[in-house]
């Protein structure tokens, strides 16, 4: 900017290089400008991310009940969480189960709904809105609604199932059905995937379909050889972000377990999460339970770090495969 104002500024190509101090001043100024614009995030990143991450590592080697001073215990917390803690296995299993089943079904269902919407000729607006709205329902509200709809006593769904003679499951009250019920809830909120698949499907060039039709391709062949190759990046994106989201799966599982257990509690009351039979206990819930109910800070921090390592592994994979997240420009 000062270069622009400088009076005897010559044409750049023929010019002698600007004097070194001037150039350096310009660079310093640019660097300060960049730092200035980035400063909110630089502060936020160090204070609200860097610090707690380091502190989590520190506490993972400490015995700390949040009252007495922390004391160093070496690897005891790590050994306890990884080898002795009874709930670690179920929590990890449930989280992995949800990551595999929920993500797979959501992607398939989302793609199906996306395809369906692009085929609809009349009332597109109505159908699109109907399919999208549940995604907007706040998770707690949606979960409360589903616990009611699916409750074995007076829920309308079991009422309807019994009326047509289908044996009604116990849904959130049955250890075998609790996770599938959560999956059902997540399929109800498919709106986000529907929209990105819809956008991807509409981007497939129409001429390719016409060319395939001329070659006598049927519906499946058209999907397999025209649609699929051009939407693979979006499918990949949906899978990876789905995995990341599902590893954080917390609110719905917690609220469903609490409400279905029927224990008359307010929030804040100590109750072992994961009703029924730890079937809805996820890793994030266990972190909460260890840190804020049992005040076992050390073990909670170990579990946090386990979650962190898994999340980082997935994120690295995501950026390697460039599932649409990090543009290839620079």
């Amino acid at each position: 900017m000062s270069l622009v104002e400088s009076p005897e500024r010559p044409a750049p190509a023929a010019a002698p290089r600007p004097k070194a101090p001037e150039l350096r001043r310009k660079h310093t100024r640019q660097r300060l400008r960049t730092l200035g614009f980035l400063s909110p995030w630089l502060v936020g990143f160090s204070v609200f991310f860097g610090y707690p991450l380091i502190a989590t590592v520190y506490f993972s080697f400490m015995h700390y009940n949040q009252i007495q001073e922390p004391s160093f215990v070496g690897l005891r917390n790590w050994k306890y969480v990884l080898t002795q803690m009874p709930l670690f296995g179920p929590a990890l299993w449930n989280t992995l189960w949800l990551v595999v089943v929920m993500v797979a079904l959501r992607v398939v269902f989302g793609l199906g709904i996306g395809l369906l919407v692009t085929k609809i000729k009349s009332g597109v607006g109505f159908f699109r809105t109907a399919f999208y709205l549940p995604y907007l329902a706040p998770p707690v509200a949606a979960t409360v609604a589903f616990v009611f709809l699916l409750n074995p006593g007076s829920g309308p769904v079991n009422g309807l199932l019994e009326a047509v003679g289908i044996p009604a499951p116990g849904w959130f009250n049955d250890a075998a059905w609790a996770k599938p019920s959560l999956v059902l809830l997540s399929l109800w909120g498919i709106g986000d995937l529907m929209v990105i698949f819809m956008a991807a499907l509409l981007d497939v060039p129409k001429e390719q379909y016409e060319a395939a039709e001329l070659d006598g391709a049927g519906a499946w062949a058209k999907f397999r050889y025209v649609t699929w190759p051009s939407i693979t990046p979006i499918v990949m994106f949906a899978v990876v972000t789905g995995v990341v989201q599902t590893m954080q799966y917390y609110t719905q599982a917690l609220v469903a377990g609490k409400l279905a257990s029927g224990v008359n509690i307010g929030p804040g009351t100590v109750i072992q999460p994961g009703y029924p039979d730890h079937s809805t206990l996820t890793v994030p819930q266990l972190v909460y339970s260890l840190g804020f109910q049992n005040f076992n800070t050390g073990a909670a921090c170990v579990l946090s770090l386990v979650l962190f390592v898994i999340a980082m592994a997935v994120t690295t994979l995501l950026m390697r495969k460039r599932a649409g997240l990090l543009p290839a420009e620079d």
Binding site: P40, G44, T118, V124, L133, P138, A141, G291, L307
Partner: protein, 302 residues
């Protein structure tokens, strides 16, 4: 995208009087069957999405006894259930807190994300790619990973637990997801606009405020909406920091205690549930375009 001309009845129109003969009739019949099949599937699927809302609504106006009966249609319409919900102690406070959390949270996030996203999108500097990688990494991180030390700081050193400030203050320092989304949007602004602003003598700040922000309105709207919804829906945050102080609860958090306090009154719980859903859905209808723009931005661009 609809190319088939439609008749009032909804069935595809005949394409012209030249369409005669058995082959054309077969093609027409096939098209009609296809139309029927697609829409039958669509209607069946729509039921799966819509019926939960319908059942929740119907239950919300039932009498206390009927709500436990498993019947589907209300005998009498007790609109007073909604009044009862509103007069529940605390419910209006939860509304106020949710509005404050979502409103201030959105304001803080947008204001802090704009300059960061602009720098990441348009400045060339060493470490830019690293910064992007770090932004994406924080975005992907489960909030539970860092919550314990953060809680200890807010509760034991700053004595701010029992309020929503430990959730709001960090939002003034750049939320990773918002920065990422906004950056994706800002990448689409052609460099020429920025350069011509600079030729006209605008500094970076003026360029950002006068040129970039007006052009990025759709992106900013999408980010603001997402953040508003995130705060409105947040359960984990208020659970950590506001649990011990019911006066600081938000709707999303209080709803669960509402259910516990009215454990047998499914009708009241369903009315409260609808009242928690309603603002989000109303906002959606007013801002549909910005919203869909935002969702596609997450997946398609880049």
């Amino acid at each position: 995208m609809t190319t088939t001309p439609l008749r009032a009845g909804g069935a595809p129109a005949r394409t012209g009087s030249t369409d005669r003969g058995p082959a054309a009739a077969r093609a027409r019949r096939k098209r009609l069957l296809h139309w029927i099949a697609v829409h039958a599937v669509a209607i069946a699927t729509a039921l799966f999405f819509v019926l939960p809302f319908v059942f929740v609504f119907l239950t919300s106006v039932m009498s206390d006894d009927q709500a436990m009966s498993g019947e589907l249609w209300p005998h009498e319409w007790n609109w007073s259930n909604y009044a009862t919900v509103f007069s529940t102690p605390g419910f209006l406070d939860w509304w106020k807190n949710s509005l404050m959390y979502a409103g201030l949270g959105t304001l803080f996030t947008v204001c802090s994300a704009i300059p960061v996203a602009y720098a990441l999108a348009k400045f060339r500097f060493r470490g830019r790619r690293t910064a992007m990688v770090l932004v994406i990494s924080t975005m992907m991180l489960p909030p539970q990973v860092i919550v314990i030390p953060m809680y200890l700081v807010w509760a034991q050193q700053l004595h701010l637990s029992g309020s929503l400030w430990p959730l709001l203050i960090p939002m003034a320092f750049g939320d990773a997801y918002s920065i990422f989304l906004l950056r994706q949007f800002l990448l689409t602004i052609p460099q020429e606009y920025l350069e011509s602003a600079k030729v006209d003598g605008c500094g970076e700040v003026r360029t950002l405020l006068r040129i970039v922000v007006p052009m990025a309105k759709p992106g900013i709207a999408a980010v603001a909406l997402f953040q508003f919804f995130y705060c409105w829906n947040d359960y984990f945050g208020p659970q950590i920091y506001a649990a011990q102080n019911p006066a600081a609860w938000t709707l999303s958090y209080g709803l669960e205690s509402f259910k516990s306090a009215h454990s047998v009154n499914w009708n009241l719980t369903m009315a409260a549930t609808l009242l928690v859903m309603a603002p989000v859905i109303i906002v959606f209808f007013f801002a549909q375009k910005a919203f869909v723009e935002g969702v596609t931005l997450t997946g398609v661009k880049g």
